[in-house]
């Protein structure tokens, strides 16, 4: 488990410059057309997965919440593999029973197809699956996996070459109840990745809920007490310590569904932001002594502009307006818009700028879950994708073909294009495939290694979608992977800033969205005529280094300690 034994796979990554740039395989085209930007390759790629909700007719709430997904290199061969959580046949209690459906691992082959590698990898957890987090908790250079369940959570340790073992007991982890999204980051800056586990409610399957017309319906989270989130500190010896109470995380509860770890005030200590379902969101600001205080109310990130709690589902933390700070975007239930909390600086906090940024009206009819901020057409700003699907039945929308009762829950997903100043508009119809489904997790990564960001959508009641990006390119690109050789792993939490034009910053993280984990790469769209002179990496803790960049349209690998003073 020591860094010297690491096998961080660096094959496709160029150590700084020196290799010929990859060709731009599609000519830049004008924006605003209805040309499709994505094509679904799930079926042809061999993704034959179906999330089993175990629906019993009892309207058990876990049936409508789950569906996690991850993109990560499970077997160290340099391409992205896929992990999908599965339900089981007991949505009331989460007990696997005999011969239960299991989570599935799909390994990408050299030809881009995926084959089921679950059994060999021993990753077929039979719990009632919710979210998933990827982290190299033992700093051995490969990615381990935390599965959040309705029921007992699991930690799987990667033994190398894509074989895993259940390390839950060995790690001293005993998280039970209803976990949802998980953020992995080194919050205490000791070199070991920790885990923040968002937890939903203390579910009581005996509750009988109906909609306003008196039809049986999934309960609102208000029907149950919120569960306390869990903070697991990595001791660095393969075990974790539950520091929830000691860190003060148990002082405020909420029905947590989404969580991100980022720098959300003006120091270098990582903070957490939790999107809660019908409870005030939490902005856990880390104090110098390693405890956390919830500053969401005073800093304007607890409620929307009208002062209302919303049904927070997924969340991303990213610089959406290229002003060098971290904004927050939270997805919500129908009749609530998704909400953009604009970061106005540490002294002020956040302001709900949803309406002013063009994000309000178009999301009101939909229930948003997974979300990704990525520069999809490479024009230099972050676009937003939202995976939608109701939790309360509604009118059947055109294009829904899941059959009863699920057609009443199916919705199309949304893509918002950034105007470069943080204003958004809905992409023309047809840009995103018009699949009308019950979507949940959304993960991002360059699946086909062509330099743009592809998407994986986990669905309930239908197969996942693997959307290959074919957007007309509006510019060049860079993808930066940041490694800390002393730790033998990706420098999660590092911030990469481009020097020159465009001057933009991205964070290295896998944990954002809803029940999902994505590839830990700082991906930059550069626009049509970039002048990138270098990049500065702010490593976790605040030390900075500058690296030269002598070309674009390429993947770069930067190693801590091999740069120079900025």
């Amino acid at each position: 488990m020591s860094p010297s034994r690491s096998f961080v796979f660096l094959g496709p990554w160029l150590l700084l410059a020196g290799c010929a740039p990859a060709p731009v395989d599609r000519a830049p085209a004008s924006a605003g057309t209805a040309d499709p930007w994505f094509v679904d390759i799930a079926a042809e790629s061999g993704l034959d997965f179906l999330y089993e909700q175990g629906t019993t007719g009892e309207w058990a709430m876990p049936e409508i919440i789950g569906g996690g997904a991850a993109l990560f290199d499970a077997d160290g061969d340099g391409d992205l593999d896929i992990y999908l959580t599965n339900g089981n046949r007991d949505p009331r209690g989460g007990v696997p029973g005999s011969d239960p459906p299991r989570n599935r691992l799909y390994l990408q082959q050299a030809d881009g197809r995926f084959v089921d590698g679950t059994e060999r990898a021993e990753l077929g957890d039979p719990g009632y699956g919710m979210g998933v987090a990827m982290l190299d908790f033992d700093n051995d250079g490969d990615l381990d996996l935390y599965v959040a369940n309705y029921g007992r959570d699991r930690l799987f340790r990667n033994r190398g070459e894509g074989r895993f073992e259940d390390w839950t007991v060995g790690a001293g982890i005993g998280v039970d109840g209803w976990s949802t999204s998980v953020a992995a980051c080194d919050y205490d800056l000791d070199g070991h990745l920790d885990l923040y586990v968002a937890r939903y409610v203390v579910f009581d399957p005996s509750r009988f809920c109906t909609d306003p017309a008196g039809r049986r319906e999934y309960c609102s989270p208000e029907a149950f007490p919120p569960a306390v989130d869990v903070l697991l500190r990595n001791r660095g010896d393969g075990t974790f310590e539950d520091v929830t109470a000691a860190a003060g995380i148990d002082r405020v509860t909420g029905a947590g569904l989404g969580v991100v770890c980022s720098l959300l005030d003006d120091d270098e200590r990582p903070d957490f932001y939790v999107a809660n379902d019908l409870d005030a969101n939490q902005l856990w600001i880390q104090q110098p002594d390693g405890t956390f205080e919830d500053h969401a109310l005073a800093r304007g990130a607890a409620y929307n502009l009208e002062g209302r709690t919303e049904s927070g589902m997924g969340v991303v933390a990213a610089d959406l307006d290229n002003d060098a700070d971290t904004d927050l975007f939270v997805t919500h239930l129908t009749a609530q818009s998704n909400t953009l909390y604009d970061n106005l600086g540490a002294a002020v906090g956040f302001e709900d700028a949803t309406g002013q940024r063009g994000l309000a009206t178009s999301s009101l009819p939909f229930t948003g879950f997974g979300t990704v901020a990525a520069d999809l057409e490479l024009d230099g700003d972050l676009d937003l994708v939202v995976a939608n699907g109701r939790v309360l039945r509604g009118e059947r929308l055109a294009g829904a073909s899941l059959g009863a009762p699920w057609d009443a829950y199916a919705e199309p997903n949304l893509l918002y294009l950034n105007d470069g100043r943080g204003g958004f508009e809905l992409a023309p119809e047809g840009t995103l495939p018009g699949d009308v489904e019950i979507s949940r997790a959304l993960a991002a990564g360059d699946i086909d290694s062509d330099g743009d960001v592809d998407l994986l959508v986990a669905n309930l009641a239908s197969a996942p979608r693997l959307y290959r990006n074919i957007a007309p390119r509006q510019g060049r690109w860079l993808a930066v992977r940041a490694i800390d050789p002393a730790l033998g792993r990706d420098a999660i939490g590092a911030r990469v800033r481009l020097i020159g034009t465009p001057s933009i910053e991205r964070e290295i993280t896998r944990s954002f969205g809803y029940l999902s984990a994505s590839d830990a790469v700082a991906h930059f769209g550069l626009g049509v005529d970039p002048d990138v002179q270098g990049l500065v990496v702010r490593w976790p803790g605040g030390a900075t280094e500058r690296f030269d960049v002598d070309g674009v349209d390429r993947r770069l690998l930067v190693r801590r300690g091999e740069g120079r003073a900025p």
Partner: protein, 397 residues
Amino acid sequence: MIRVVRGLALSLVVVVTGCDDTPPPRIPDPPLDGMERRVADLLRETRKSVVAEPHSAEAWGALGATYQAHRLLAEADLCLERAHRLDPDDFRWVYLRAITREVSGADGAELRRLFGLAARMRPDYAAVQVRLGDAMSSRGDLPAAREAFRAALDLDADLALAHRGLGQVLLALGEAEAAVAALARSLEIDPLDGSAWAALARARNRIGDGAGAKQASAEARRLGDSAGAMADPVFEREVVARGVSGTRALARAVRRIRAGDFAGALQDLAIADETHPGDSNVQHWLGIAYRGLGRADEAIASFERAVELNPSLAAARFDLAHLLFDRHGPREALPHYEAALALDGEQPGWWFALARCRFALGDRGGAIEGLEQVLRLAPDYGPAQRLLRQLRGESRG
């Protein structure tokens, strides 16, 4: 002459109304499968009125409002639009349609038009302006929202929600000092509005008043995003009162209990109890309603049933303990206080009640321990400070 003009105008109205030769839309007929019988019957009967009188604005409006009451929004929209077309002068239909469209995600321009029309019909009705302000605010048209909230305040200077809305919009517009003033005024009128406290915390933070922000945050956290209801008799009468499902009845019961109408709440809770058999929440509210009516034995029975159905329902356990303390004494109450606090140990008032109970049983040490918990959670809790001083004095004496 005046008579002639009036006559012409009347004729014009008649002609306009009578000449609405738009073919009547299909009367919405959503599937009633799975709905509570009471709801299905009501929808069926109300729809029959439209079938019988397809040119009656009242019939279409009533059907639309009934759909709206049960959150069948597409159907409600269609009916209310028809009602408005048949009687463009009836404030109710355009107003209710504006509300339906707002919830359905209409854009700002459409809502400005609909609420604007409603406001012209009833320039005295402040709720229109507050709803317009909220709609504009959520759609990012902050100047329009500010104007609407100010118009509401011109009609009713003591409308807490309008002061709050104005304060929130001013804060978003960067006018933090003015926002503080508006929010403070809102809280003078309704000090229990947690959302106003939250906005005040942000506004004070913005003007550099860290201590004030912290205090407002604490209040906001204590109160949640609770806010007083806005007087909106048209919506109450036309929509809320038409809701007959268990869910709607339960919501109405809760509002009635908060307004002190326990007898009315009991009627609604009877519906909810019938449609949601075995729901611990309904039993808990039943207990609260019975308690409000002074029917202690029935209240205790309801609280006990709630706890039996859901042993982790801390608030029901506490309410049960409190009533047992009053009716049967501390010995019966004690285990329930302890159980409630084992489930939720963050309520200073509950610790105080436990301390009183222990004190009544002669357990001074236990009472002191409970009071220390109160003051850990709420250092300014006066009665706890006094009782603790008294107990410590007696201990020393």
